[in-house]
């Protein structure tokens, strides 16, 4: 097919779970790209509005409901922000438990993403569902790893989705040491499953498209930053404190999206596993660095499709890091702590890394101790702009060499690479030629 005959009108309705509902729209006429739009059509829920009037202790519990998949991260970012507003500092024990809690969700989310997205491509299946009969061993391994990660979250937080044990100052009910020991043993026994996962991902044919962009993540002097740190830019090689996060996100609105967009030092920036691995590679556990090498991930990496690989690297990092943290807890035991608190006025800021990238929360409380202002900036809304920029850069490069089906598939895969939801198996495209 000659380039100048390529008139595509691709309109993908409710394409993927980008925190819900999104559409892709691509129009090309006679080989020229006329329009590339990523439309976010999710209905508003107004968390930043209706949280007003709530008490400090209620905020993390309620705003965890922003996302079922990142509920632990939302709870933790909100807990840190509320504690900052209330002048609360927490014990090393609480920090350690929160890091374990957070990494349990990384394991769960990344495992889901790799298996529900990458594996169907690998075996040429339209989704994970048909694999249950055609590749039962792959599906069973995915479910085994996912169950282990879920059980880890439940042991730490009381349940998998919207856990209730974490609160201001510490734990309402401390995790059970015997259960942590069981999770440690199961994690050790899961090494063959993890190795098999790496082997599968190594066989994936990753599209080779690069676009240099700004990578933004937390950075911490002592560790691979997932729970704490300052906000680091790959462009400036400098970090700003979390309380200045608005310097970073610079949110703005566009008519075709109910999600706000972000930009910092250039038109857009990327957050997530690839941003973290790019910015903090040296602090990954050696086992994870080895996996990066095995899978051909060299930093800095400007190929957004490699985010899938970066997630596998983080699975290995979180697994080994969790084993070390579990040893610390099992050796030192856990002490009950006073978690009582009388609300005061104040404003506070909190950030954590969640599987999809850096997450910011901010709250203010009035003199009666009730919430008067709230703001939350989620990773996916920071990435949307960058994804659309990638599409605008890649569609003209891909157009001369690809059929409409290939082009559509590559756009699907680009979205999947950014969004580690199970749902992102975007195999439901409705592609039409205008001509």
């Amino acid at each position: 097919m000659k380039n100048d005959t390529k008139t595509y009108n691709i309109d993908v309705h409710h394409v993927t779970r980008i925190e819900g509902h999104g559409n892709i729209r691509i129009n090309t006429r006679a080989g020229v790209v006329e329009e590339v739009k990523l439309c976010i059509v999710e209905a508003n829920r107004f968390f930043e509005s209706f949280t007003r009037g709530m008490l400090p202790q209620e905020i993390p519990w309620v705003v965890g409901r922003i996302c079922g998949i990142c509920c632990v991260g939302h709870q933790l970012a909100a807990t840190k922000a509320v504690e900052d507003s209330q002048g609360i500092t927490v014990s090393p024990q609480t920090v350690l438990l929160r890091k374990m809690f957070n990494e349990s969700q990384f394991l769960q989310s990344h495992v889901l993403h790799v298996y529900f997205l990458a594996v169907p491509d690998f075996v040429g299946a339209p989704s994970v569902l048909p694999l249950a009969s055609s590749h039962p061993e792959v599906v069973k391994r995915a479910l085994r790893l996912k169950k282990l990660a879920n059980d880890y979250t439940a042991v730490m937080g009381g349940r998998v989705i919207h856990p209730m044990s974490n609160t201001l100052k510490g734990w309402r009910k401390l995790p059970d040491l015997a259960q942590i020991e069981q999770i440690r043993d199961r994690l050790l026994a899961a090494v063959p499953d993890v190795l098999e996962t790496i082997a599968i991902v190594k066989t994936l044919k990753i599209p080779q498209y690069e676009r240099e962009t700004e990578y933004v993540s937390l950075k911490h002097p002592d560790e691979y930053a997932l729970y704490d740190g300052d906000v680091f830019s790959s462009d400036t090689q400098k970090a700003v404190p979390v309380r200045n996060y608005r310097w970073v996100t610079n949110e703005f609105t566009v008519p075709h999206s109910t999600t706000k967009w972000s930009r910092w030092h250039r038109d857009s920036y990327a957050v997530g596993a690839l941003a973290r691995v790019n910015n903090n590679f040296a602090q990954l556990r050696p086992e994870a660095q080895g996996v990066a090498e095995t899978l051909g991930l060299k930093v800095p990496c400007y190929n957004p499709y490699m985010n899938n690989v970066a997630q596998v690297v983080e699975i290995v990092h979180c697994a080994y890091n969790s084993l070390a943290m579990m040893e610390t807890v099992l050796n030192g035991g856990l002490q009950a702590e006073d978690i009582s608190h009388t609300p005061v006025a104040g404003r506070g800021f909190g950030a954590v890394e969640v599987p999809r990238g850096i997450l910011f929360h901010e709250y203010a409380f009035d003199e009666t101790g009730r919430c008067s202002d709230a703001n939350s900036i989620i990773p996916t809304s920071q990435n949307i702009n960058n994804i659309e920029q990638d599409m605008k850069a890649f569609v003209p490069q891909m157009l001369p060499n690809m059929s409409k089906e290939e082009l559509t598939l590559h756009m699907e895969m680009l979205l999947r690479a950014y969004d580690p939801c199970i749902s992102c198996s975007v195999h439901m495209l409705d592609v039409e030629f205008t001509d």
Partner: protein, 260 residues
């Protein structure tokens, strides 16, 4: 022929669909018993009819209302999946604020006005109010809670697959809490909604050291006046009682009461 099952999501965190996938031990068995014909994450939305449609999320805009009515018309059974679909969940608290004010608080006045200028995308911004599914179409079964309880989901699927009607006893959370031999939240100096809230969760929040905030909705014959009086006696002002009732139950009659 295996029953055709479909999942649809509206406004919510999608955690209840995730909770379905978290039934790892029985997921493959369930896939052997039913045909999942619509599940946005996995397959295209093309099936003409469903035996069972699961609805996740609350309903906010006219386009969502139309979509929901279309699903109801094509479904034998319709199940509200989780607190957003059953009772509007936490976001129904935004109903006490005008939509334009909600948009202003989230986007800022200038950005709100700029974003709402392109007629092609107006339907996206046409928020009316947060409604439970039953406010729009008849609901056959409710899987309550935030998130829904996997055991109840499995019970419902088993019953429908075997041609019987699933039964969910209307006990209070308080009953299950006693069965767990928990120390009462009131005795810990907390206040709790377990007396007036639908059970079925096993009182999981109180069991893990928290209280019940009523995410499963209010029991039809609960003594609400007595509960309000109890909270007053524990020192909660009417403003704080209203705040509490409006954490998860804003779209319930309890949350809509205005007391002076």
């Amino acid at each position: 022929m295996k029953p055709k099952v479909a999942f649809f999501d509206f406004a919510g965190c999608e955690g209840c669909q995730l909770a379905v996938l978290n039934c790892e031990d029985v997921l493959l068995d369930i896939l052997g018993l039913v045909d999942i014909v619509e599940f946005r994450e996995a397959i295209s939305e093309t099936a003409p009819r469903f035996d069972v449609a699961f609805i996740e999320g609350s309903i906010h805009r006219e386009e969502d209302v139309e979509r929901l009515r279309g699903i109801r018309a094509r479904s034998t059974y319709l199940v509200a999946l989780g607190a957003c679909a059953c009772i509007g969940n936490v976001q129904a608290r935004s109903n006490f604020i005008a939509p334009a004010e909600n948009f202003k608080r989230v986007y800022g006045e200038v950005d709100r006005n700029q974003a709402q200028t392109d007629p092609e995308f107006w339907p996206l911004w046409a928020h009316t109010r947060v409604r439970a599914v039953k406010e729009i179409v008849p609901v056959d079964f409710e899987l309550r809670g935030c998130p829904m309880v996997p055991a109840e989901f499995v019970h419902l699927v088993k019953a429908l697959v075997s041609g019987s009607i699933p039964h969910f006893p209307a006990n209070a959370v308080c009953v299950e809490c006693k069965a767990n031999e928990n120390e009462c939240a009131f005795d810990r100096g907390e206040t709790c909604m377990g007396q007036i809230t639908y059970g079925g969760c096993g009182a999981i929040c109180v069991t893990n050291g928290y209280r019940c905030d009523g995410c499963r909705g209010v029991l039809p014959h609960a003594n609400l006046a007595a509960h309000r009086q109890l909270l007053r006696e524990k020192g909660l002002s009417d403003a704080l009682i209203q705040n509490r009732y409006r954490l998860f139950c804003s779209a319930e009659p309890l949350g809509q009461e205005i007391r002076r």
